[in-house]
């Protein structure tokens, strides 16, 4: 896009400083969130096997989650500052609270399950984690969208859904790996359904992003999103076709879907970095909007009188 002016081609925005931990957390967080829902629902409909396994899976993920987040901090010893405030304007702060509650609940429940004591408390914990699971699985979409990175911000409508679907798929797939096929029916349905839904949402997102979305076809983001598509769909296919009969297929399919979902999160992560790197993704849409709707960011001489408006 040569028609875009810039300052020596330098980026207007700063690249996210997040490292590998964050996209990994986007995945594990999703697994944790969705699993806690699966766990209680399965119990509700009498699938104790699935319920117990997914409870453990969710708890395991919830143990990993804070470690990932803390290790990404510039000053890890200050991780607890996250709970210094309660800020509805900060998806990360809200996320921290959600993770705190959900993690606490699911791990408590898992522990009590393991020891087989305090049934009522465990049930309460499971309920809490059931309630906080869905937000945990989807808030990360808002977290990423609530930035100035064009490829993220412009996808704010789709991202929570996309991440939700991905979470569902990965939770289901994970369950397929650890659960005997007989009792893993719902998990297979979730895995396959999640992957399908996610495919549709991806398409919708690209339609909305247009030129801004081209980063998903370039560089690291491109590689990861292709990998994501291939692995997730092939895994889903395998689960759908042979998941019920062969344990091996279930494990492999589940693993493939999980890997695919992990790649999806890395694709989004890198798309963000690449989108920040090139000024055209910032300048062009803004310039177009400015010329279309007229901008108030700049005040031309003839407007100067008018712009001396109240509120200053």
């Amino acid at each position: 896009m040569t028609d875009v002016q810039s300052y020596y081609g330098r980026p207007v925005l700063k690249e996210p400083t997040w490292m590998w931990e964050i996209p990994t957390y986007l995945f594990t967080g999703g697994v944790a969130g969705a699993s806690s829902v699966v766990s209680l629902s399965a119990k509700l409909f009498g699938n104790e096997e699935l319920s117990r396994r997914t409870l453990y899976i969710g708890a395991a993920a919830d143990v990993v989650n804070p470690m990932l987040l803390i290790s990404d901090l510039g000053r890890p010893e200050r991780f607890h500052h996250m709970l210094r405030v309660f800020k509805v304007t900060s998806p990360m702060n809200i996320g921290a609270w959600v993770l705190f509650v959900n993690g606490g609940a699911s791990t408590t429940a898992a522990a009590l399950e393991l020891l087989g004591i305090l049934k009522p408390v465990k049930l309460l914990a499971e309920l809490v984690s059931f309630l906080f699971g869905p937000p945990l699985a989807t808030y990360t979409g808002v977290l990423v969208a609530d930035t100035a990175i064009p490829v993220w911000h412009e996808a704010r409508q789709e991202l929570p859904w996309l991440f939700g679907a991905s979470a569902t798929a990965s939770a289901g797939a994970a369950a397929c790996i650890f659960c005997p096929p007989a009792s893993a029916g719902p998990a297979r349905r979730l895995a396959v359904g999640g992957v399908v839904a996610e495919g549709l949402l991806m398409h919708a997102m690209h339609l909305r992003l247009g030129e801004t979305g081209e980063v998903y076809r370039r560089g690291a983001a491109g590689a990861f999103s292709t990998a994501a598509k291939v692995m997730a769909s092939s895994g889903a296919l395998m689960l759908a076709r042979r998941g019920r009969r062969s344990r091996g297929a279930a494990v492999l399919g589940g693993a493939l879907v999980c890997a695919g979902e992990l790649c999806l999160r890395f694709a989004v992560h890198h798309a963000g970095k690449q989108s920040a790197r090139d000024p055209k993704y910032v300048v062009k849409p803004q310039r177009e909007r400015a010329t279309r709707d007229g901008t108030r960011a700049t005040t031309r001489p003839h407007e100067s009188a008018a712009s001396a408006s109240p509120g200053t």
């Binding site: 210094r84 405030v85 309660f86 800020k87 509805v88 304007t89």
Partner: protein, 189 residues
């Protein structure tokens, strides 16, 4: 008790109590932010100085604490600079405290391949001797033409444009008395 204080200091409590519901302002102010003040307020004394770089002659305020310069900024009282400084003048503190600044006499003996340490007093004494010896050895009482010369052409002194008037005065006074005529500074170059 301690716990109560801890809870009281919890910003979330301030959020709910003091009207900063979104926790964007006073509620989240840290202890440091509350007690923060400019370090020049801790200075033992402030000195009015003049920038050492170009000849515009900007006024400087030098803030000192515990015998160390803690900050240098423009002197608003100066009718020339009105408190403003260029990047060089602004960096005067970093100049005075440069990581490369030398604090010790360094001595290189003839044909030596490295610097050696030398005590300041000894160095001064050696330099005095060099001047006296060179002067004695190369003294020119008269020119070939038999006109008075009263000088040595074997010693020179360079520099002055970056020095104080008082320093230049002593240099010229001493060199004239010594018969050293090759006294020059940047004004020439």
């Amino acid at each position: 008790m301690k716990l109560r204080r801890l809870i009281a200091s919890w910003p979330v409590v301030h959020q709910l109590k003091n009207g900063d519901r979104l926790a964007l302002g006073p509620a989240v102010k840290s202890q440091r932010s509350h007690t923060l003040k400019p370090r020049i307020h801790d200075a033992d004394h402030v000195v009015q100085s003049i920038c050492p770089y170009c000849a515009v002659g900007c006024g400087q305020l030098v803030y000192v604490r515990d015998g160390e310069v803690t900050h240098i900024e423009g002197d608003p009282a100066s009718p020339i600079s009105r408190g403003r400084l260029c990047p060089k003048g602004q960096a005067s503190k970093s100049y005075v405290q440069s990581p490369l600044r030398e604090y010790k006499v360094k001595y290189r003996r003839p044909y030596g391949t490295r610097w050696e340490e030398l005590d300041l007093e000894t160095a001064m004494d050696m330099i005095a001797d060099r001047v006296i010896e060179t002067r004695a050895a190369t003294w020119q009482a008269e020119t070939e033409g038999g006109n008075p010369a009263n000088r040595t052409l074997a010693i020179g002194n360079l520099g002055g444009a970056t020095l104080d008037n008082e320093e230049n005065y002593l240099i010229k006074k001493l060199m004239t008395a010594l018969g050293v005529v090759q006294v020059e500074n940047q004004a020439r170059i």
